[in-house]
Amino acid sequence: MSEVIVVTSGKGGVGKTTTAANIGTGLAMLGKKVAVVDTDIGLRNLDVVMGLENRIVYNLVDVIYGNCRLKQALIRDKRYNNLYLLPSAQTKDKTAVTPEQMVKLTEEMSNYFEYIILDCPAGIEQGFKNAIAGADRAIVVTTPEVSAIRDADRIIGLLEANDIAQIELIINRIRPDMIQKGDMMSVDDVIEILAVHLLGIIPDDQQIVIATNQGVPLSGRNSPAEQGYINICRRITGEEVPFLSFDTKKGIFRKMTELFRN
């Protein structure tokens, strides 16, 4: 059985591509046969996040136009031989592909992979419509900011209107210290506002920047964000995993020093 999951957000810069790369890698670590597909035609990014930019020969548009076979365009990951990337085209634009062609492509890929992760472009235009066309399931990525949540709400509405049965939320870049001070919306606040099932939470973490710089997602740094992604992957496979808790309660010594500092 195969599942096609689209990673989307509406707003740009909330961590869709990072999430797609980490979920792809995480599922591969769990032994699943996985393909990650960059559907952002004209703005290719997933390849650099995964560190596979030097291996691209053919791309998604080549496969759809019949310039090559699917297997020729798929790039095997450096570290996991059950993880593949289908890169996007850099020279074409979103109108090069139709939703029907994307459905055909994901159906063909379903024969070879257990999970197909589609990295969706920002926005709600053609690129979004293409990306969600073949998806069974959607992961909406947001951050605890008003702009990202507003766009996530809009995207959830559009996904529902397009009959995507399973819609789940990832809240990215959580800052427990700011939530504790009351200067950031909490996970519960966001869930209450969006009224959607929570798939996972990712704390704001410098290690993600470092891993992306190096092109090695989930590189075993044992950082909070990596743990968050691993938990998400286990939940995707149907396992029940408790959510990360941010126990920022301070010891008596810290409390005392803060009191004096204030």
């Binding site: 009351g182 506002i193 009191l259 204030n262």
Partner: protein, 91 residues
């Protein structure tokens, strides 16, 4: 507690400001009804109630629920004899 009192009680923290702003804007977007229209609707509701019963305007809460779609208005009514205890009518 000292710093809580200094920061927390004097002004609302930005997290709850964000939450309330979002709730209002999403509500009007979901219902395809502008925030002005919603405010007018709220005022009309209060005026209609006020014709018959004294209404505690400060205590009015209007909520919208998504599934099933529903508008819930909590309009506390001031009681003349015992103004501390008020009935709540859900419309």
């Amino acid at each position: 507690m000292l710093f809580m009192a200094r920061n927390g009680l004097t002004k609302r923290r930005s997290g709850s400001v964000a939450r309330n702003r979002l709730k209002t804007v999403l509500l009007s977007e979901r219902m395809d009804c502008s925030t002005d229209t919603m405010l007018m609707m709220k005022n009309d509701l209060i005026q209609a109630m006020d014709k018959y019963l004294p209404v505690d305007r400060a205590g009015i809460q209007i909520q919208f629920q998504q599934d099933p779609p529903m508008m819930l208005a909590r309009i506390p009514i001031l009681q003349e004899k015992d103004s501390r205890k008020d009935y709540v009518k859900t419309v």
